[in-house]
């Protein structure tokens, strides 16, 4: 029965394929980039659907210097990397950190932001985590162990929210879940903060840059706390995602990023959106 069913499906889809999927032009085509449009200040959406933020600005400049035509579309985070891996999109700019695991299925440009990840809590919860203001490199086993066990102690029996399949969810599942901390994963980024403010979560974890954007709007009710983490499974900075093996596009964009780093454009963009420099020297 399974054989007959799949044949049946295929027959139906063949018709649709003929109607929908024309061959894509190789020369002078518009590259399709995607972003979530809900990860401030990296990328956000205006009521009329326009995408804006650090990454739309960055991509415009990169495209100008690398000399390609592109279109930036909104796409749910769930399935974004899969979409690039499948060739559905040419690239993704969504604060995607370069990790070994992701490098198995996609390639990246050079990194354009660094900076670690930390926690946010509601002020009225009275919860504070140890190590605020210190940065821990996950490559350093001893420092990691000390810091993680102190945070796990403070969060024992509590619930931490995080967006699904991010470096932060990897971190939480690797280091905190085995020590009695409940991890709750959300398909969309903003929902994590929503549930933090609603009191459904005791803490939320995200990148420092994303948390500062959230705190800017909610400085009376929420605060950042705990050590910040980077390196190891949390990867090596944020890069533009391209399809596996698309070296040509990745190299072109890396070169553009390098020239932007050299002439100060990258830092200027960072100051504009983050009010601090979170970009690396390329």
């Amino acid at each position: 029965m399974t054989i007959t069913r799949s044949t049946f499906l295929r027959a139906g889809i063949a018709a649709a394929a003929l109607l929908s999927a024309g061959p894509v032009l190789a020369e002078g085509k518009k590259l399709v980039f995607v972003t979530e449009g809900a990860f401030p200040p990296f990328n956000m959406t205006k009521p009329d659907g326009t995408l804006y933020g650090f990454e739309p600005d960055l991509l415009a400049e990169v495209a100008k210097r690398a000399g390609f035509d592109y279109e930036l579309k909104a796409q749910a985070w769930d399935g974004m990397i899969q979409g690039v891996a499948d060739g559905k999109f040419d690239g993704a700019v969504d604060a995607v950190t370069i990790t070994a695991k992701r490098l198995e299925v996609v390639d990246f440009s050079a990194p354009y932001t660094t900076g670690g990840s930390t926690f946010a809590v509601a002020k009225d919860s009275g919860l504070t985590l140890p190590g605020t203001g210190t940065a821990v490199d996950l490559g350093d086993a001893a420092a990691t162990e000390a810091s993680v066990s102190a945070i796990a102690e403070a969060l024992k029996g509590k619930t931490v929210g995080v967006q699904v399949s991010t470096i932060q969810s990897d971190f939480l599942n690797t280091y905190l879940a085995p020590r009695g901390v409940t991890i709750r994963t959300y398909p969309n980024g903003p929902d994590v903060y929503q549930d933090l403010m609603n009191g459904r979560l005791d803490a939320a974890m995200s990148s420092i840059t994303n948390i500062s954007a959230f705190l800017k709007k909610n400085k009376d009710t929420a605060e950042a706390t705990g050590a910040s983490f980077k390196g190891g499974i949390m990867g090596a900075g944020v890069g533009i995602v391209v399809q596996k093996g698309n070296k040509e596009l990745a190299d072109k964009m890396s070169a553009a990023l390098k020239s932007m780093s050299d002439d100060g454009t990258l830092e200027a963009l960072s100051m504009k959106w983050f009010e601090m420099n979170v970009t690396p020297k390329l």
Partner: protein, 229 residues
């Protein structure tokens, strides 16, 4: 396709079966009780209006929006966060279950209403003549006949609810679909994972279909001679 990967995923997704079964069973139970209540409500004129409005809203909007409304919408009100209900509404599980119960009740109440309409007046009169109380008539005559009549439609609703439970994965619950979605975003091997999950749901729904055929036959002894359509 990689069979050992599918096997691993199959087992992992089965880990969500208890939650799926739990939500499925309890939402049908809660929905049936509420549906009966709605039909009793319909005996008064005002109650009839209330029940109609309820059914109109819950059948006219997607379940997904009902789930989000209860999970995110209600939590936006301070007075709800400070009420006695908050310990329940704080948990995704109770929000999901509540949405499923409310949704199922709207559909089930209409199915039950159809069944009640089909109960012959004579049967009820016969009960009254033989001195049964209103409650006894409801319990011994009206409901059994109505339920028998509503059974085919209700078995579809039971399967619909199984499929509906898959939507609670959108509010962080780790039912079978939630586990499958998480596995997809970890491994990026969507097709194998989705087919594994689909197979489990399909098996459950086929069991329900067979069960309902069997029950229908048992409840229709007078039709033994003409079971072939």
């Amino acid at each position: 396709m990689d069979l050992s990967f599918i096997g691993t995923m199959f087992l992992r997704i089965l880990g969500g079966l208890p939650l799926t079964l739990n939500l499925w069973g309890l939402s049908l139970l809660g929905g049936a009780i509420l549906a009966l209540g709605l039909n009793l409500l319909r005996t008064t004129r005002v109650g009839d209006k209330v029940a109609s409005a309820y059914v109109f809203v819950f059948r006219g909007t997607p379940l997904l929006i009902q789930i989000f409304m209860i999970y995110f919408g209600l939590a936006g009100f301070g007075f709800i966060r400070h009420s006695v209900l908050w310990p329940f509404l704080r948990e995704p599980y109770w929000c999901g279950l509540l949405a499923l119960v409310l949704n199922d009740a709207a559909y089930t109440s209409e199915i039950l209403r159809g069944g009640l309409r089909a109960v012959p007046r004579g049967a009820v009169e016969a009960g009254r003549v033989s001195g049964m109380s209103r409650f006894t008539i409801l319990r011994r005559i009206t409901l059994p006949l109505a339920i028998r009549q509503a059974l085919p439609a209700y078995s579809s609703e039971v399967i619909s609810m199984l499929k509906a439970t898959a939507l609670v994965s959108t509010i962080t619950l780790m039912d079978m679909t939630g586990i499958a979605r998480a596995a997809i975003s970890e491994t990026w091997r969507a097709v194998e994972i989705l087919l594994s999950a689909a197979a489990i749901y399909l098996a459950l729904s086929l069991i329900v279909t067979q069960l309902s055929v069997w029950i229908e036959r048992r409840l229709s002894p007078w039709q033994f001679q003409r079971t072939n359509r």
